[in-house]
Each structure stands twice: as C-alpha cells, then as structure tokens.
Symmetry: D2
C-alpha cells in the first residue's frame, strides 16, 4: 500500500520495442529509485487491438485500446508515452498536451525543427512537462564528466571530438527504410544527434557549425523489386564552435563497419582531459596534468557508487550497469521532475535544440559554408 | 490477465540488498522473457516486521510477515527465495523443501559442504527444484565461451587460468565481519568460488587440486574496541587438473588493490584461445589458429543478439547488458525449469559441488599436498 | 671487408637530435638489412666546429667541418643528410642536388610548397634521388594496412578518420618557438602533415579539402620579457574527399592534453575495417564482415615476421619494434632505392605533396570554403 | 677519434641470431649512451669459418676464427660474448674467465644450477665481471615499477602474479628440439625463468616455492621419421613466498595459444597496485588508493624521458622503444659496470639464482611438496 505517494497513471502509445522499453522503464524506475510518485500502467494503445491487448497482458496495463485518442481522452491518464512512428509524434503530443498530460516522446521529437518548436511551445504554454529519450546522457559516467568539466578539473576547455558511429546501415544490400526518408532521416539526424547532445551536455552551447554530409550507398532496394535513390547522409560530420570558447568536431555514421556503439568523445582542457567510449560505457578515462611527474596517464575510472545514480543499481564498484538501466534513469528523472516540479532532464525544448543543430549542420553542408547557431 | 500461464507465488525471506535483487529479478524476468509461468510477489518476511511491510509496499508483495515460517507454511507459496544470513540458509531451505516448495537460495548455500549435501539430497528426495545464485555464469558471453569450447572451436583444451579478485577487504582498517568467520569464510570461499564455478562451467569437472591460502591482514578491529585475529584466507590460490586432461590455476583474492571485478579467465586450446574479463563482461576475446597467416589475433567479440539471451535485452549489438540483467537471466532460467520440468541451471547439487571444491582446496592448502577430487 | 658492395659516403649537416638519428639510421640500416650498398659516415658539418668534431667522434665520421658547403663540395660524398633548421633546407638541398648528391632532408621539406616544388624539380632534373623523413609510414603495420586495402580485404573504402594529436604545446606558459612562426608553422603543418601522409598512403590521393584552423593559446612568452601573438593553428581539422570515392576527416593537434602520440586512424570499407593507434603501433585492429556470425570483432594483429620488414628486427612475433627502428627502415629504403635505382619510398615530390595539402587546407580554412586539390 | 675513452675489444662466439644481437648491442650501446669505454668489435668465432668471416664483414669485426679458443687466447680481447649452444656455455665461460676476460653469456647460463655455480664462483675468484641476458628487466617501465615499490608508493606489498606465456610450442606437429631436452629444458626454464627474474627484480628474494609442471604434448617428431617422448614441461606453475612477506604465483607456458609475449605481472600493495604486460611494454598501469574518491583508477603511464634511460632513445614521451633497445640497455649497463667498476646489472650469480629457482620449483613439482629456497 503506497498510500503516501500519489499515483501517476501512464498511457502508452505504441507496443513495439520502444513501447516495451517505456513500460519496463516505468516499472524499473519504481523499483530502483525511491520516487515521490507511483507510476501505474493504465492504458496502452496500438492500432492493432490484438497487439494492444497482448501488450496490456504482458506489461501489466489495465486497459487496451485500438485508438490512441482514447489515451488522450482518458481523464485518469497523467502521463503519455509516445513510441509511435516519428511522423505521428507531433499530432499525438499536441493532443496530449492540450489535454493537460505530461508527455514523454521518443526521439526524434519531430522530423523538422519547426514542428518540434510547436510542440515545445505548446507544452510550455499549457504548463505540462515533457521528455525526449536521449538516454546516453543518463550514464553516470557522463554525469561525472560534466561535473568534472563544470567543476574546473579540466581547466579551460580547448578541444572536443565527438562521434556516434555504428554499422547497421553498412550493408548495401539492406533495403530502403523510413530512416532513409529525406524528411528528417539520415545518419546525422539518427546518430549524430546523440553526439551533438553529448557535446552540448558536456561543454554547453554550440555557437557555429560547418557540416559535411555524404551519401555512401546511393540507392537501395525499394522492397517492391525496384531501386530507390537514397538522398540522406550515411556519414555526417561537422566542425563546431562552442560558447565557452572551445572548438571541436563531431561525426554521425551508420556505415562504420565493425562499430556497434562508437558513441565516443575526447575533451582536452588546460589542466586535464577525458576520453570515453560507449563501447565500454562504465568507464571514464581521466588525465590530470597535476599528477606527479613520471606518474601521469589516463586513468580508467570504473563506474562506482561514488558516481550517482550507479549505487541505485549496484552496491559495489565495477559491477556495471547496462543499456536498459540508462532508460530506467531517464524515466526516473522525468517522474521525479513531474512529482517535485523540478527541471525536466531533457524536455521538448532540449529535443528541439538538437533538431535545430542537425538542421543547421545540414544547411551548412548544403551551402558549403559555416553557419552561426542561435543560442538554445 | 495472463490467463494462459499458471501463477507461481513467491515467498521472499530477507529484505536487504539481495532480497531487493530477488524481487526485481522476478519482475524483470517476466518483462524480459516470455516465460511459461507468472511469478507473483506474494509474501515477504523479515524479522523486523516494519522492514517486511516496507518491502511489501516497495516491491509489491501482497503480504508481509515477521516470521519466515509463515512463508513456508503458506500453501499458496510455490517458490521460496532465501536471502537471509548464511547461517540460516540450511534450516530455511530444509523447511521449505519439506513443505514442497521450490527453493532459490543465495550463495554460499551453506558454510560446510556437509550441510549443502543435506540440502541437495533433501530437495532431490522431495522432488522440488533448487537454485543457487552464481550469476556470472548467466552472462551470454560465458555461455558463448562454453559453446565454443564444447563445439570444438578451440580444439583440445590444454591450459586454464581463472581469477576472481577484488579489493573490498584491502583496507587493513576495515572491521572484522562475518566474512572473516573461520566457518565458511575467506576469499577463496567468497570470491574464488566464482572462479571455480566458471572453470567447471567451461571445462567440466576438476579432478585434483593443490591449494595455497594466505592471510594478509592478520587481525582486524572487532568493533568493540579490541582486535580479532583473522583466520581465513585473504588470497586463495589453487593448481587444478580437469577431467578433460587440461591443467590450470585459479585465484580468489579480496585484497587485490585497484581491482573491483577481476573475474577473468584465459583458456588455451590446440586450435584457439579465449580471454575474458568481467571488468568488460560484454566482450569475449577469441583467437583462432585457423585465421589467415598475418591476420591472426585476439578478436574482440561484442555481446550481440547472436549470443542468446542478449537479444532479450537489446535488439542491437554493442549496447551492453548490466550486472542486474545477469540476475534476471538467472531467475528466468530457474522459473523456466520449474514450469517446464527442465534441468535446473545451477541447483543445490551444483552449489554443493563448488562448496566441495573450496573445501578440498582448503584442506589441500592446510596439508600442503595435492588432493584428488571426486566427480560431481 | 665489404668488397662486394659499393660504398656510399655520407655527409651529414646538423648534429642535433635529428642529426644523431640520421647517423644511427645509417649504421642501423646496414646492421639490420642486407643492403646492396655500404653507407660510410664520411663528413659531418655544424656551424659550431667543436660540435661537429664531437659528433664525428661520437658517431664515427671521418671528417668534421664548420661549413656545410664543405660537404657539398666534397667529391667523395654521395649522399647528403640535411637536419639543419627548416629555413635552410632549400639552399642546402639545391646546392647538394646541383653537386649531384642524393639528398635526405628532414620534414618539413620547406616552409612553402613553392620552395618544395623547386627542390623536387631540381632533383628530378639532375637525376638524383631524394627522401623526406615521414617515418610513421615505415611501420610494418601501416604497410600491412595499405596492402590489405589495396588487396581488397576491406572491400570498397567508404570512410576515414585520421588524427595526429600530442600535447607538447598544451602548456600556455611555454614560450614562443620557431614552430609558432606564421611561415610554415602550426599544428596542421607540424603534426597534421603526418596524418595527411598516412591518409594518402592508405587511401590514395585526396581530391578536395575543407579546413578549420584554431589558435587556442593566442599569445606566448617571447623569451625577452614580452608577449608575442601566436598566428598559427594549435588545432587544424579538415574534411576530406579521396579520389577513390571515400570521404574522411583529419586532425592535427598539439594541445591535446594527455596525448603523446595519438597518430590514429580508422578506415571503414564495405567488407572490413581497420583501426590503428600509434600509441600501440605494433598492433593493427582488423574487422572482417566475412567472419562467422557471432564470431565477428576487431582482431588485434600483433606485429610479426609475417609483416615485413618486422622480421629483420625480431625473429618472433610480439616482441615489438621501437620508434628508432622506424627510422632505420626509412634509411634502408632510401639506400636501397639509390643502390638499385628503385622508386624512392618518400621523395621530395611526396614531401611537396604533403606541403601542398597543408597549404590547401590552410587556405580553405582562411576562405571558409572547400577547395579542390589537384592530383599529386 | 675517441682518444679520451679506453678501448674494450670484443670477442664474439657464435654468429646466429643472438650473435648478431650482441654485435648490434655493442654498436648501439655506444651510439645511444655516452659510455666511459669504447667497445671495439675485434674477433668473431664460428665453427664454420665461412660463417665467421661473413659475420666479420657484416658486423664489422677485424678478425674471424673457426675456433673459439682463439678468442680466449687473444690477449687484446677484453670481453667475450658467448652465444653458442647452451651445452657449451660452461667450458667457454670458464676458459674466458681463466684468461681474465669479462664474460657476457646468453641465458640460460648453464643447464644445471651446479654448473652455473661453478661459473659464478670462478668469475668472482678471478675478479672479472659477468652478465647474463635477461633483457626484459632492462625496460625503463620495469625499472620504474621497481623504484615505485622500493620507494613505498604501493605501501606494503601483499600479492603478486607473474606470467611468461607464448605459443611457439603450441603446434603439436612441431618437431622435438634441444629445448625439449630433459637436461635444462622446458617452459619453466625457458620462459618461466623470465617471470621469476621479474618477480625477484620487483619484490626481492623468493623464499619458498611449490611447483606444478605439466607436459601437454607428450611426444613429438624426432626429425628422423620417428616419435620422441617429451619429458619436459609445456606449462610450469608455482606458488611463491617472498622475503618481504608477500605471496604470489608465476607461470611459464609455451603452449599458450594466441600469446606471443605475455610477460605480465600484477602486484598489489596496501597503498597501490601495478599492472604490466610485455605485449605493451611501453606502458605501466598504476593504481593509487590515495587518488581522490570517485577519481581512482589504473592510470596508463606511457614511457617517457621521465623514465630513464628512455630519454636516450627518444626525446619525447609516447614514441616507444622496441625489443632491440632493451638489448642495447643491457649491453650498455654491462659496459658501464666494467668501465666504472660498478655493480653488474645481472651477473652470473644472478643467473645462477634464476637457475636455482627453476630447479627448486621442478623438484617441488616432482616431490609434490613445498620447498624452502635459500637466499640468493
């Protein structure tokens, strides 16, 4: 009997992989964290009613619907999770916002920054909280990195290199998918967006960009016996300038053969440096110029209870959290913000910001010239 | 409404860290796997009733008790999880077995092999299934390693090196704890047991051992203003012979400064080799003599859907599972065995086996001579 | 008595660190390789006669001079090594070429591509052979990488990332040096040039560049009690297009705190990938999509006799060659070309090429636009 | 003209790989170090006169002989290098010692400790200096490790793990060689000896051992159409006790598939730890418990001028020395000791010590019981 905590009834739209991840996230967040609110799996919607009912049973939702409008219309629902196809995000989110629900939407928020702008503004006007799923930022080691930078352990920040490279589009025989759609797709939008989010998470606002977009596999099987021309980037690169005076570069790449999760960064400051790879995301490598002469070197810091919220998952260092635990941290942060009225960890405006950066880089690449980026 | 699946009501004894881990394990196993049974959190017991009630609320148990006998006596309970202090494992398990419950007991099963023997025999006689928590074995990369060895990818197995080293007892100022109790404690029993379990999991039965036990910190603060002599090992080593003809070595060490989770192994065969470290447990390094000349080398295989049950957690390679996911796999395996009547993944007899190996090594170290080990 | 091999008398200009390295290179090349010519240390020149005489004694030169013209005028000298300050390279090289000597000049060949052009043309007209010291290319693992790419083991090459980052200019308290001279200096010219050389060594000609140059430490101690404005780049980046259709990026950075020798690359092809770091330059990491499913991963190939000319240095794999051995390979390659009339490993025209790339990138960064680069 | 330095004329016995390595060592040591003596390549002997003459030409010796006695008898020779087959070491060394020459002998000094004892005693009686080739100890990073341990940076030393594993005997189809000879051969003597030398180099005297020797490949091709039984160990292990109170283990293994140079160690102290692998021998990994909380981790110290004598080879950190440079350091240390009358870096008595340890371990393995080892 959780009488002391208010209930927050969850409506989930979509029952695919990300729908499942959201459902688990709510359950796990309650288990792992001592949250001031109790998320209750209330209603799940899928255009295929049988799928919705199966998901209700499997995940523990009380109700199932074939129409997502049921969720928005349900007065009991306090928070709406949107894991439907990207093209539907905007309509769903605006309806939920209009109904006064908090909204948790998978990335990308919307194909175009202009849409994301509408969504963020609507939420702010209505006074509901929002969240976009940028889960790599939830890693305790990234939080540590940010604190070390903010706390001056690296001194003045000078240079940055960021990456997000995978190889899941490297096979030229793979078919044309919605990710290849010119409206919002491409490696920069899909993966580079993560690298951009990490860059600003660590160093603060990017102020100028120069992009370079390349299509490597120029056409793909259209699934109907023909070929379809690919107009999005397979590799997106950018030079960056930051408001803190640093410069850097970033790459999003989905044809990086052999790489499964190369979400890496290296940051150099006047007093120290950090190196990180998502391939080993329970580690952060730290170099301090202040170490004794002849004893300097990148030290491999292993995730430990000293790096919150790692201790919520494991009581001892070195045991390691997994990818799904990042999702749990993400959900917990949002629920906590809702319950306490605190700041959203990564709201629609933050999602809009990433969308904006992606679009500025794309435009810059198209125009082949640098672009100033307005502040977030 | 999971009408198609039978319920299995869970009774949990103990509400500490491992109690929490078991509760999560049942919930997560249901989420992640499509199990043929539905585990229902039914009753939790703790000698402190308030703690039991708090745990019931936090984890979602229907009932709370101050007396663990209530769980054993509850006819609805089908499975009992024991996470109480080691000294109580035997009584609790025997009572649960007598009541016809399946039993899931944390490691070590009992301080002495003779006790573990009683427990294993009782369960077999009563026809209930049992499980001991050796979760490192649940790693998909260990399962892969075992399959590669069994499938002949490494050829004839020749040599083995195993380790489990941490540093959580390295501070000489740390107090005397129950782990320093001569009856069942020490680094070999606590950590070396994991290394032994992995060794047999991969190579099959150990047939002879020669042990070496060392106490590094000879006395500790007794918590009452005095000092207490430490009689258990801080480092336990052993030479090994395996039934498959290979030889090897193993070390358990809890004063290994700097190491948090050095559960490592290396195995050399006539056609290949494997190297593994729990510090990066989503990787397995594989060397194949059959690779082309000049192109040979240890290759870093990253955990992927090709390595079941990784795909249950992440749909893409390289995302990584965490320590708690190993627990989820452990629970799922046990529930599946119960529901399907399949083989227990790591039952009491397997736990007894590890206990036996530990005791044989201790005796060998004491007698300073090799000992033959009877088959499991 | 090396009667069967012709002598090649060496004249060395400069007795500093690189002078010493050249002298050793000649001696070591003769020891390690079975060269068709015998390099004889004949005459060494340094503006400081005492230094020249000390070097003659220490390194084993027969004669010492205070004037480098003595070397050029000496009819016995067949090859001239130039390790004097960069500003003097051109005059010395042109004089040596005019006298019909083969010339081995340290990098950078000359501050400006135009000068390098004059030098390369003069040598070609006179029919003498030349060499510039790009020793990282002499690594057997780079040669292996090139052969694997050329041989199609990676399939169609798609993406490239190259780096050369160090931190030896990261201390803002460090003085203004000749490397900060606007005429030819900067991180791109000094370190990025190596990354560019490696990029073309592996993938062939670069056809277009877009540069980004940043000065991080804007002024430095002028050594005379004042401050001097730094006009060269501390970080130089570029986007690249290659003639083979691939795209890529490159970075030269001398303020990369913590990095001592981050001459790294990663190259992705349709059938495989390579990853390399000069920090561990006896290793090459190779990913093959053709490996068995579930067994794929970057494999760490260790330098071995299978990778010529490693076997000249060590008869067994894994022993590792050192930085100075790269210099030995460099010298041996040049001597072999002279003796056999073969192709120069990295002649003045190749050095000019790198200079040209550096200048194109600088111009591109200045103009903030892409530049086409004429073929080499 | 090195008039200020005395000459030391070298006589070399043997012209194979190690003979070449010695010849290079003398030349390189003079180049790299500012030694107080000039080693002059004077006379080389090989039972095959043509080989001796070819070596004289190739390496630069003034004289060649078919009989090694010529070297011992040559009054000009001051130092004798012995690289002939092991079985001849003793006679050659005793003759050279009797003639008053300093002696540099390849490892193993002699098949039996008793022989090594005779050699060491003879040298001491005659007052000549001696050297055995344990070149891994010459690594600046091992010297650093030793200084850190001796200087108390790791606190009280508690545990040690040492290895030397390779796979050059892993192919069961490989023939029987002199290394398989029961008199002195085997993996423990051949490779384990290096691990033992490193163990004592770092921690000081071993006081007790318990060995475990295993023959994996029981017979091999005898080269004459038959099979020959292998009586030496393919894997040799030992538990160790050290005079400083620490315990440890060591392994020598020449059937460790995939390993080319796994000369590794890990040492744990009360205040810190070190981890090292010869596979990356320009790095030493150091963990300090005194690092700030949440910032602890093994730090990768890269070889640098701060770690003498690295700076003799490279003026900047991270460039890396190679295996042959270790040989150069070894030779330089010996020449310096001869010239200055300083302590031999690793004389015959030190070689005897290793031989003694190997024999004690072998005996212990045979008797299956621990053995006390007398001090060195």
């Amino acid at each position: 009997m959780t009488q002391s905590k208010p209930d927050l009834k969850v409506g989930l739209i979509g029952t695919g992989f990300m729908g499942k991840a959201h459902a688990f996230g709510y359950v796990n967040a309650a288990q792992v964290f001592d949250l001031p609110v109790t998320a209750v799996l209330h209603r799940v919607a899928d255009i295929d009613l049988a799928a919705a009912e199966a998901a209700a049973r499997a995940f523990g939702f009380a109700h199932a619907s074939a129409d997502w409008h049921d969720i928005v219309a349900d007065p009991d629902v306090g928070i709406v999770s949107i894991t439907a196809p990207n093209a539907l995000h905007k309509d769903m989110a605006l309806a939920a916002i209009a109904a006064g629900k908090h909204v948790y939407c998978e990335k990308p928020l919307a194909p175009l920054a202009a849409d994301a702008q509408d969504m963020a503004s609507a939420a702010e006007k209505r006074g509901v909280l929002t969240q976009v799923g940028f889960n790599y930022l939830c890693n305790p080691m990234l939080r540590l990195a940010r604190e070390m930078i903010a706390g001056g352990e690296l001194g003045e920040i000078r240079g940055y290199r960021g990456l997000h490279a995978e190889d899941y589009m490297a096979d030229a025989a793979g078919p044309f998918t919605f990710r290849h759609d010119p409206r919002g797709g491409g490696a920069l939008a899909d993966l580079g967006s993560h690298a951009l989010a990490t860059a600003e998470f660590l160093l603060g606002p990017i102020t100028a960009v120069m992009g370079d977009l390349v299509t490597v596999i120029s056409e793909r099987d259209d699934g109907r016996g023909g070929r379809r021309r690919v107009e999005v980037d397979d590799i997106g690169r950018a030079f960056l300038r930051f408001g803190n005076g640093a410069s850097g570069s970033v790459e999003g790449n989905w044809v990086a053969t052999g790489r499964k999760m190369q979400h890496d960064f290296e940051v150099h400051g006047s007093k120290g440096a950090l190196a990180f790879s998502q391939e080993r995301f329970n580690e952060l490598h730290f170099y301090a110029t202040g170490d004794a002469p002849g004893r300097q070197g990148f030290r491999r810091i292993e995730a430990a209870p000293a790096h919150p919220p790692y201790g919520r998952f494991c009581v001892a260092p070195g045991h390691q959290i997994g990818f799904n635990d990042l999702k749990t941290i993400e959900v917990a942060g949002f629920l906590d913000a809702i319950a306490t009225g605190g700041a959203e960890p990564f709201g629609f405006r933050a999602g809009l910001r990433i969308q904006t950066l992606v679009e500025e880089i794309k435009r810059s690449a198209q125009d082949r010239c640098w672009r100033e980026v307005p502040g977030p």
